[in-house]
């Protein structure tokens, strides 16, 4: 991907020849509750180009989820400018430009797996034939075609989360936002899902912003890793992660992988994340 890099005020900003999917300038979010002010996020500058997979990583309270939610128009920035696909986040939300995957599957227990995937499509008003076609396609893509008629509580946690990813993809968004989607799962399931997600991203070429706690996960999945500091959250460093296209799971033992992971850990340490 052709990039022009410029260094401004010690923070790397990359501008590509195509307009960025997400552009943040000086974005800050401050929460007010009972007279107490909490600065969740401050001074965030970043451009996310189409087709990138960007991970946000940092300790608890570093504002990574807040940033994701601001992009999704689930929080409002109290400072700075944020655009998504050239529009305000609210316009982007109303235009249904993104798919969101939460930390928990958030499936509706009274709907079958299939109908859960069709939920956003119903709201968008798609005709039934189209809804059913897309639901079948994306459930197949996550490998759950045989479970269409089952109900969420009949599926394991990992399977439920896959359904939630299929649901996010069914809208066919250009931007996929994921908030620690695999955090509640055991490591083995998680590894499998990482592989799955990576393949999905490669085949759909969508832009992804992914919040995580896990360094190996971030390095495995991303093209760029944004390291954030403890509260008040700011961007410490943005690390390029060019491990190539096809990434099998055992890429995690290669020296290149470990090198990137080391840099991430160092950035976290420099930001006092381990204190």
């Amino acid at each position: 991907m052709p990039r022009d890099s410029a260094v401004i005020e010690g923070v790397f900003i990359t501008a590509s020849t195509t307009p960025p999917v997400v552009r943040a300038r000086g974005v800050g979010v401050t929460f007010n509750s009972d007279g107490q002010q909490t600065i969740a996020l401050t001074d965030v500058d970043i451009d996310i180009a189409p087709g990138e997979f960007v991970s946000l990583i940092g300790p608890s309270g570093c504002g990574k989820t807040t940033l994701l939610r601001a992009i999704a128009d689930l929080e409002q920035p109290t400072a700075g400018e944020l655009t998504v696909n050239g529009m305000t986040p609210e316009q982007a939300r109303l235009a249904r430009s993104y798919g969101y995957v939460f930390q928990a599957p958030a499936l509706y227990p009274w709907r079958s797996v299939e109908r859960n995937v069709m939920l956003p499509l119903e709201i968008m008003g798609l005709p039934r034939a189209e809804r059913e076609k897309r639901a079948a396609h994306y459930l197949d893509l996550v490998g759950l075609a045989d479970f269409r008629r089952r109900f969420p509580w009949q599926l394991s946690g990992g399977m439920q989360q896959r359904v939630s990813i299929a649901r996010a993809l069914s809208v066919e968004p250009s931007l996929l936002l994921m908030d620690e989607p695999f955090g509640a799962l055991d490591e083995i399931t998680r590894d499998g899902l990482n592989l799955h997600l990576h393949r999905l991203w490669r085949s759909t070429r969508m832009t992804a912003v992914f919040v995580t706690h896990s360094i190996p996960e971030a390095v495995y999945l991303s093209t760029r890793i944004v390291v954030m500091s403890p509260r008040p959250g700011r961007i410490l460093e943005i690390i390029d992660c060019d491990l190539g296209g096809e990434r099998p799971l055992d890429i995690r033992e290669t020296p290149e992988f470990l090198d990137v992971a080391h840099r991430v850990r160092e950035a976290l340490r420099a930001g006092h994340s381990y204190d």
Binding site: D73, R93, W110, L119
Partner: protein
């Protein structure tokens, strides 16, 4: 069978205790009525066959139920079926009114803050007021404007049952967690869609337990609405006349019939729940 064993055991113990109590309580009366040459055994046995016993033996109640249910034509004022129908119809109408009002109120309370703040306190307060104190007044006032019979009883039954429905529905409509609601935001779903696709389905698992309580309360309301007004028909009326004329068996039969009706009402709600659960894959 193992699930029923404890229940059956307790019922068996209950039956034994009941018989013993019947003998003990009816003994004095039995002695006064006994012939001079009656043996102790005969006196003891007679405690279980008295016409107006202090505590009827279980089999006597069963007999009385049998005659009053099947011994008279259904339309006769001596038929327990007739009286049950009168009470049940008032309870059913009251329940239906409470259901409509309760659901509408709950929807209003969840969506309009002014309604929530103004009404919730009064809704709770309405339940602490013994509506049965108001029952005679309701009957009189409505009677004065020409509404008698079914409607006043239904209104009282409805008053008792609308509270569990309203609170259950409010809880249910509010039950979706923040994540499920955020999901709807990411779809930029409008208010009606959020209500129809999230809140309403989520509220069903809270509504049905409340409906069971409400159904039982509607029955209580209908029965008690019959009491202070000297009503002529209905299970409450049977209790009243039984009490006036010292017809103990009639009272107990009416009581058991009321209990049976309560079971039927709760069972009906359960059937409705099962029908709904089918479309949801077996769980509410």
């Amino acid at each position: 069978m193992t699930k029923a064993t404890p229940i059956l055991t307790v019922l068996a113990i209950l039956a034994v205790v009941w018989y013993a109590a019947a003998v003990w309580m009816n003994l004095d009366l039995a002695r006064t009525f006994a012939d001079d040459d009656a043996t102790e055994t005969e006196i003891y046995l007679s405690t279980m066959e008295q016409e107006r016993p202090k505590l009827p033996a279980p089999h006597q109640i069963v007999e009385e139920l049998g005659t009053s249910l099947f011994g008279y034509p259904i339309t006769s004022p001596r038929s327990l079926i007739y009286h049950s129908y009168v009470t049940a119809s008032a309870a059913a109408l009251g329940f239906a009114l409470a259901l409509i009002l309760g659901v509408l109120l709950a929807v209003g309370i969840v969506h309009v803050r002014t309604m929530e703040r103004s009404l919730m306190l009064w809704i709770i307060a309405s339940q602490t007021v013994p509506v049965l104190a108001i029952a005679p007044m309701v009957v009189v006032v409505l009677g004065n404007i020409g509404l008698t019979g079914l409607l006043p009883k239904a209104l009282i039954a409805g008053w008792l049952s609308f509270f569990p429905i309203t609170t259950g529905m409010v809880k249910g409509l509010r039950s979706p967690d923040p994540m499920q609601r955020d999901l709807m935001r990411t779809y930029s779903a409008n208010g009606a869609q959020v209500f129809a696709k999230l809140r309403w389905p989520a509220s069903m698992s809270f509504l049905f337990p409340s409906l069971k309580i409400a159904a039982a309360l509607a029955l209580v309301g209908a029965i008690v609405a019959e009491l202070p007004t000297g009503a002529q028909a209905g299970l409450g009326a049977r209790l009243l006349t039984g009490s006036y004329y010292g017809q103990t068996l009639q009272i107990w039969a009416a009581l058991f019939m009321a209990a049976a009706l309560a079971l039927v009402a709760i069972g009906a709600v359960d059937l409705a729940r099962l029908a709904l659960v089918r479309g949801r894959g077996g769980r509410l």
